[in-house]
């Protein structure tokens, strides 16, 4: 950096944040250079991944891929599209969020506004942190244990008393555990960022905690709530391990019965992540063009979610 060249001693000046780096100490300059270098490095890595995926994706993505069922075939041309995995991603995200969002919202509100008894609040907090830190494959294994129980046979395919334990229900239930910590953390953070006197202003006109939370606090924390939900969806649609283990990662939807919707949800299927996994050069199907096209779509979905998070966060309203 040019700041590194020695400069003639200058008259002592007032130092402020906007001062030029010429007056900085050596250690500060090295630190600054290091921080910049690391920042640029990570930016470059991210940009490389995104641009490479975009370039590859645009090359291989064709409109008919979106509307064609995948098929078993040896050539790229004969193996269909990714309609089923795309739908699978959407279904799984909806189902998992249907579980995780109300639960996460409730836990977040309880931790922030009630937290009583405090030992239970502390226990809940560490449980949530533990969930956040666990690899999803662990949830997947745990899920097989649960959903192979005879009592839960109605949630997956059952054959001669053998419960397969693989279904959209099973996968969504476990995927919701991945999204849960993100939702809880964001809801809680959003609520705790609201100054105490705002709560008290509501209590001070005779409102209960519930009324205050519903009418004042949650609307004020909406950007955080939306951010948490979006991040949760991002995690859900990006997860592979649970889909492979609990959804079967079958090429097409494989309904458990002929009942229209329920049959499909009780059956197996796949998502874009497992589709990419199996079509990657190291996967079972090995059709990299399909993998790149599906990966491109997945990346676009995640990027769109990130933009939505940014927009939601920027619309936040704050008290002084």
């Amino acid at each position: 950096m040019s700041a590194a060249t020695p400069t003639a001693p200058v008259a002592p000046r007032r130092r402020c944040a906007r001062d030029s780096s010429a007056s900085w100490r050596w250690s500060d300059r090295v630190g600054l250079a290091f921080a910049w270098a690391l920042g640029l490095l990570f930016l470059a890595v991210t940009a490389a991944i995104v641009l490479y995926m975009l370039a590859q994706g645009i090359r291989y993505v064709r409109p008919e891929l979106f509307v064609t069922h995948p098929a078993a075939g040896v050539s790229e041309r004969a193996s269909g599209g990714f309609l089923d995995p795309l739908l699978g991603t959407v279904i799984v995200a909806l189902m998992a969020m249907a579980i995780a969002f109300p639960l996460g919202l409730g836990i977040g509100v309880w931790l922030s506004e009630y937290g009583n008894p405090s030992w239970l609040a502390r226990l809940t907090e560490s449980t949530i942190e533990m969930l956040a830190g666990s690899p999803s494959i662990v949830f997947a294994l745990f899920g097989t244990l649960i959903f192979e129980q005879g009592a839960l046979a109605f949630l997956s395919r059952t054959n001669d008393g053998v419960v397969y334990g693989r279904s959209f229900f099973a996968a969504a239930a476990m995927l919701s555990l991945i999204a849960l910590p993100l939702i809880v953390a964001n809801v809680r953070e959003g609520l705790q960022a609201i100054p105490g006197h705002v709560r008290e202003a509501s209590y001070a006109v005779g409102k209960t905690r519930i009324a205050t939370t519903r009418r004042v606090l949650l609307p004020a924390a909406r950007p955080s709530v939306v951010t948490g939900a979006m991040l949760g969806v991002g995690r859900i649609i990006g997860d592979t391990a649970i889909i492979v283990v609990l959804l079967g990662a079958t090429l097409r939807f494989n309904g458990a019965s002929s009942v229209p919707l329920l049959g499909t949800l009780r059956g197996t299927g796949s998502t874009l992540t497992t589709f990419v996994y199996e079509n990657a050069p190291t996967g079972e199907i090995d059709q990299p063009e399909k993998a790149f096209a599906a990966g491109f779509v997945l990346l676009l979905m995640v990027l769109a979610l990130n933009v939505a998070v940014d927009v939601a966060a920027r619309r936040g309203r704050r008290w002084r």
């Binding site: 008290e200 001070a204 006109v205 519930i210 009324a211 009418r215 609307p219």
Partner: protein
């Protein structure tokens, strides 16, 4: 603004003729032996906002031997104090002297602090407030805070929120127009926001936000209005507007105001209570507390000796 009648707050403007000026001759002399040389503060001869003493002063609340502690730290120590409608009561004292705690105990907001414990009792119209439902009590004794804190909704909804049952969205807007308007008028804000009541409240100016908070506190039609340093985050002009408002309100509600600003206490208060280290040191008419304090600590504080 021609289409609206002037809001009631404007009834008591600070005009030269109406403003009560304490004549030097009326001023009680400081004849305290061993007073330590403390003289009456300079502002004692300044004009006051009050246009004469209130016609009637009704006892609304009675604080009886109240002590409040946070854990083992005593914040309010054996305080007894009447609170009257028709008078503005100012609580003054240095930081941490317990005046805000005393104020918050009047509508049981201290209960929200887990470590707080309370002794003694507070009566509202003869009823012990500990026996009242907190939500019902807090509608009768409402509070305005130091920081303007309108809720993240429209101006209309901020006031309507108070009028509606808990979290309900009913009654609908049309049914509440009148009540919302009258609350905004009482707070002297209606003329400024009448054009767009659906304007987001957080985009109002600081002074307007604080008057909206007062409107909100008045919407519940309270008997006692508590104000915790309502002007400390505002500019002088907004402060003036709110001070006039407070003085005008005292006939309809009992007003208790905590303030750090002695001039403000002198300008608007009928009675002043000086607290120090949790104790109520002195309490009496503003002229007496500022002009001829009985206690040496009060004299030192009001003349700027400490705090």
């Amino acid at each position: 603004m021609s289409h609206t009648s002037p809001p009631p707050v404007r009834r008591l403007p600070l005009r030269g003729a109406e403003a009560q000026v304490v004549e030097p001759a009326e001023q009680p002399t400081l004849a305290m032996p061993g007073a330590g040389g403390a003289a009456a503060p300079r502002f004692v001869s300044a004009p006051r906002r009050r246009a004469g003493t209130a016609m009637l002063a009704l006892d609304r609340m009675q604080v009886e031997r109240l002590s409040i502690a946070y854990g083992s730290k005593l914040a309010v120590d054996d305080v007894s104090l009447p609170i009257r409608q028709g008078e503005v009561l100012a609580l003054i004292g240095p930081s941490g002297c317990g005046k805000t705690t005393l104020l918050r105990s009047l509508n049981r907001l201290t209960e929200l602090t887990k470590t707080a414990s309370m002794k003694g009792r507070i009566l509202l119209d003869g009823e012990d407030i500990a026996t009242l439902e907190p939500t019902a009590l807090r509608r009768r004794v409402t509070m305005v805070f130091q920081q303007p804190n309108p809720f993240p909704m429209s101006v209309f909804d901020n006031v309507a929120y108070v009028l509606r049952e808990q979290a309900s969205r009913r009654p609908r807007k049309a049914a509440l127009q009148g009540a919302v308007r009258s609350a905004l008028e009482r707070a002297g804000l209606y003329g400024e926001v009448a054009a767009d009541l659906s304007h987001p409240a957080l985009r109002l100016s600081g002074g307007q936000q604080q008057r909206l908070c007062i409107a909100r506190a008045l919407a519940a039609d309270p008997e006692v209005l508590l104000l915790d340093e309502p002007c400390s985050a505002l500019d002088p002009q907004s402060t003036q507007v709110i001070e006039q408002l407070i003085v005008a309100l005292r006939e309809q509600v009992a007003v208790v105001i905590v303030t750090h600003n002695l001039q403000q206490a002198y300008r608007i208060a009928d009675r002043v209570a000086f607290m120090y280290l949790g104790e109520l040191v002195e309490h009496g008419p503003a002229e007496q507390v500022f002009g001829a304090p009985r206690e040496a600590r009060t004299r030192e504080y009001v003349s700027g000796g400490f705090g």
